[in-house]
Amino acid sequence: MHTESSFNIGKIILRFRAPIGILLASITVFMVWATIHLQVGTRFVDFFPSYHPYTQLDEKYARSFGGAETLVFMLRVKDGDIFNPVTLEKIHDLTTAMDSLPGVNHEEVFSLGSFRVNYVEAQSGALISKPYMFPDVPKTPDGIAALKRNVIIHQDALRQLVSGDLRSATVTASFNDAAINYTEFFNDVEKIIQDNQDANNEIFVAGEPMVRGWGYHYLYRLLGIILVSLIIIVIVHYYGIRGIARWWAPLMTGTCSALWGLGFTGLVGFQLDPVMLVIPFILTARDVSHGIQWQRRFYSQIEQCDNDVHTAVVNTTNLMLPPGLVSILADIFGIIFVSFSGIPVLHHIALTGAVWVGSSLLMVFVFQPIVMSYLPPPRLEGKVDEHLAGGLEGAIDRFVGRFLDFPTRPGWARTLLLTGAAAFIVFGLLSGQRAEIGYRTVGTPLYKADAKVNTDIQEIAKYFPVDEGWVVLETPNYPNEQSVLGPDPLRMADDLRYYLRARDPNVIQVTSFASDIEKPFNQMFHYAHPKYLRIPDSIGLSGNLWYLYLTGTAPGEMERYIPTQQANATCIRVLLRDHTYQTLTRLLDEIEAFNSTHVNTTQVENAPQTGFSGILTKLAGFFQGEHQAPVGVAKPGLTQVTSRYLGGIAGLYAGANQVLKVTDFFNLTLTLIAVGFCCAVEFRSPFAGLLFILASVLGNFGAFIYMNMRGLTLTIDTIPVVSLGIGLGIDYGIYTMAAIRDEAIAGRELTDAITTAMRGTGQAVLNTLFVMIGGLSVWLFSPVDFHVRMAQLLIFLMTTNAITGVIILPSFVSRFKPRFITRYIATEVGDVGGGGGNGQLRVAAGR
């Protein structure tokens, strides 16, 4: 491939340059049209694994039990408590305003002022269901005092709506995310806050719609950051090669690749989440880097070929395409494997990224040569190296010059470097084992801890649960004794409440039809005597209480507990302080332990059993340790009851955690195997494959060290960026090693080949590194903390990979003389590495 005798791809491309060029240009124009139709948007459910039983459970019951997209207003008074006319009026107004927001589920709006929030009063011969503060807000001191007393009496039942210190009240609602325009939604919520906040009444807001809404709020600032970072890339690149003729070519191909990537995204109907905009930027910067590598080699070929553009293009393509192909394949493998997670947003990123990076193969190594071939030879003012000596590349050259002989000079420094690299590999692997999955703080890691979105969530979490998980009991139809109205299933639901609250400080409340409706109604039915606050002892009485409740409540109210008229399913809501990894894992373990003494089923039985999704889920269960879980033996009255968990927002996050754990493992392993395979083929040596795997580990597992140090965890948001880093970083090593090999093939002895390769490719690598860092550094000023951390992480990764590629790999080659390089050198015999092949013959047949 890289010799004249090999398959001459450069010549073939130029032979058909007109049709190929027209085809690629036409597709690019079409992609411009498709890009125009690209939508910036967010579908909440896309962030969670669609095949996972938790997600499926949530989807099955979301319409009845309420969507996971919940918004919470918390009104907190600074002086006194909420029982004053002004604050009570504001609770009422906030309830009305919440009910008017677009996309709101009107049956899921709750507050002290909602007609859906009731208490039951026993009077002689009757049970009366009354709202606390509907339709009117009490205005007289006596009326307010009566309300306060009533709230205190029912304080545990109102745990979600009034804080224990009586100074905070919430208004909550769930939303249908398909109906939300997040920009308008954000502005509407902000207006509601402004309209109702005053000196004594502070309003905080939390919920997934708001977290997403902040991304849209920052959209124009983020687009500005993209623009500035692109400008910086242009400037760094332009200054880097001192405006040498055709300097714009890499930018052109980078733009075309971006159009392909964005156009594909628009064509297949994927949406671009504002917070994820950093990923398209990284891909664009990477495309430009490939283009720079190609262009830099083109200039040197132009010089060597005496301004013969055709030959220079052919040679450059033949030289650059093999390592470029391997690099781009590594890029693609780095991102494509996250597609298997089953998480739609990762699937979209993987497909889009693969097309995007793949298109750069066509753009940089096919379209760019074709464009160059049609243009007259660039007028170079003197020697390219001399011209560049005054610019950034000159500075890089002088910088690289200091280290040129480092890899080839035996001594303690090189030994120390290689030993240190080996130690770093081990340390990186250990850090990889410690990398945490999921969220570990209250609030969202997308934004800074002191950002408004997080301080609000933290403030609300002090007094109220902000997340909920569902345990769903599926049973035979009523009036079967084991239906959800049977005494035993009801008792199980109530027992779970007690079990969790007695054990888990993260569980703030557990609500169910059994605990919240049947028991209080049974009590009220029996003269409100406290000793009747218990599960009815017969299904007949239970059914009567069910009917009593059904006839006295608003439409849709019953569905929150029992979604069907057959009474064959019921929801037990576990209200949580947060959705951190520890909280969710602990909850799952507790539910599993509880179920094992009550019903037959276990968590794993809920999972899909077939296909890749089934394998992933089983593996997720395996890695979670579920293989050790005992299979529960059902109690006699629960033999037909199935307990399914975990739905709700907590279930979605828990499912994502489990999948990400497996995805992370698969992604890393498959990417490294793919890198190893590609490099083994490119360098025709299995040992080369292994060496590049280790180089990938060296260059990228530092990410885990960095993440541990900075408190970053692997989440849906971070995993694509970490994956991209692995694929993108190894390019440097591939380009450098290919250059050493090419220099060896060209007849240089090993030390000379390394030095020459470092001077040429090392320069280009560092040049592209500066382009990447220049662009990424602008993201350090993003209002989105996720961008800042990812930019830091990528700068770190690019730097460690550049050091690996430019210094450590050449040092290894010089010290251990692997045969996949030395076989091309007639005067030396390698002492490390296999690979076979007749190097002497190849050299003879080569240049």
Binding site: D495, P505, Y527
Partner: protein, 346 residues
């Protein structure tokens, strides 16, 4: 040969690498589900239904989910009993001890009866042969006790609980029972019913009520002030008084409070009576009038006990309050009910 060696070596190295990588997916395996169990000052999800104070000052409290716990420091710390030995954890609604504290019983839902002979440290399940909830136990001496509950159930034993003899009165619910001596006892319940026994619980006769009429509200409590004066209270403050040792009853004479009372207790050293009931009300009954005292809670009071050293009342949503002045003022214990280690029941 050399090549095969390198190929093998490469694959072995690769296998070693995968071995190193693979544990990554096993990290964060499991949180310890039992670590850091909560120990809140008030367990608002937990309800307490009965309390007794032994002569040595030990307080024993029963509550939902089979809860039995005792405190030797006036409710500051508690030792919880674990009744989970393959038994259904029924709510326990009442606890009673002999006057010397040597024997006690706790009764509850599902006909559950537990007995203790070591001042509440260990408890033994007894066979009531009933499924009906037992709402109150009246302990007469170490051999005799009567428990009452729903579905017209009145259970009595005269052999320390080895056997329980059941009497049934239609499907009425009986909420309370009281004895003035081993032979004379009263039971109160639904439809303003008062039953009386003169043979230690073997036979019962209806004194009032027992008619299924809409305006017959239930009686919840009965207590004797002395050999002649007795007070019965019920739903929304209804009452009946007796001044002839329980032979006859006169309804609707107490003035003052209209809350439902769920417990009434006559402190041995006092001439008055204390009522605990809905919305945290505690009232002192004296000479035909009930006067509310500060209870420091809005949760319903379900059990009260008085002793020479201190008094204690328990109720819904984790309520435990104590008084040191004969029931005139009550304050929350801010207790930590889970602090000490649990011991198993037998």
């Amino acid at each position: 040969m050399l090549r095969r060696f390198w190929v093998r070596g490469t694959f072995r190295a690769f296998a070693l690498f995968l071995f190193l990588v693979s544990p990554m997916a096993a990290r964060n395996a499991r949180a310890d589900a039992t670590a850091n169990a909560p120990d809140p000052a008030v367990r608002t999800w937990e309800n307490y239904f009965g309390v007794a104070i032994l002569p040595d000052g030990r307080a024993v409290v029963v509550g939902d989910q089979g809860l039995i716990m005792y405190s030797d420091d006036r409710g500051k710390t508690w030792t919880r009993q674990n009744l989970s030995k393959d038994q259904e954890l029924y709510d326990l609604y009442s606890v009673g001890f002999t006057s010397d504290g040597s024997r006690g019983w706790a009764v509850g839902d599902g006909g559950a009866i537990y007995r203790t002979d070591d001042r509440g440290k260990t408890w033994t399940l007894q066979q009531s042969k009933q499924k009906a909830a037992l709402l109150k136990i009246a302990v007469i001496d170490s051999n005799k006790a009567c428990a009452v509950g729903e579905h017209g159930t009145v259970l009595c034993t005269d052999d320390g609980g080895e056997t329980w003899t059941a009497s049934k009165f239609e499907d009425f619910v009986f909420f309370d029972a009281a004895f003035t001596d081993p032979m004379n006892g009263w039971v109160v319940g639904e439809f303003s019913t008062i039953l009386h026994t003169i043979d230690g619980g073997k036979t019962w006769k209806v004194q009032t009520g027992a008619q299924r009429t809409l305006n017959s509200d239930p009686y919840f409590t009965i207590a004797f002030l002395d050999a002649n004066d007795a007070v019965v209270t019920g739903l929304n403050g209804i009452d009946a008084l007796s001044t002839d040792g329980g032979k006859t009853w006169k309804a609707g004479t107490i003035q003052g409070d209209t809350h439902s009372a769920y417990v009434s207790v006559h402190p041995a050293s006092a001439s008055n009576l204390f009522l605990g009931g809905a919305d945290g009300t505690i009232a002192e009954y004296q000479q035909g009038r009930a006067t509310a005292v500060a209870s420091d809670t809005s949760n319903s009071i379900t059990g009260m006990a008085f002793s020479p050293q201190y008094d204690m009342a328990v109720g819904m949503a984790g309520t435990i309050i104590v008084s040191s002045d004969g029931g005139q003022h009550w304050t929350s214990t801010n207790s930590t009910p889970t602090q000490t280690a649990a011991t198993d029941a037998q």
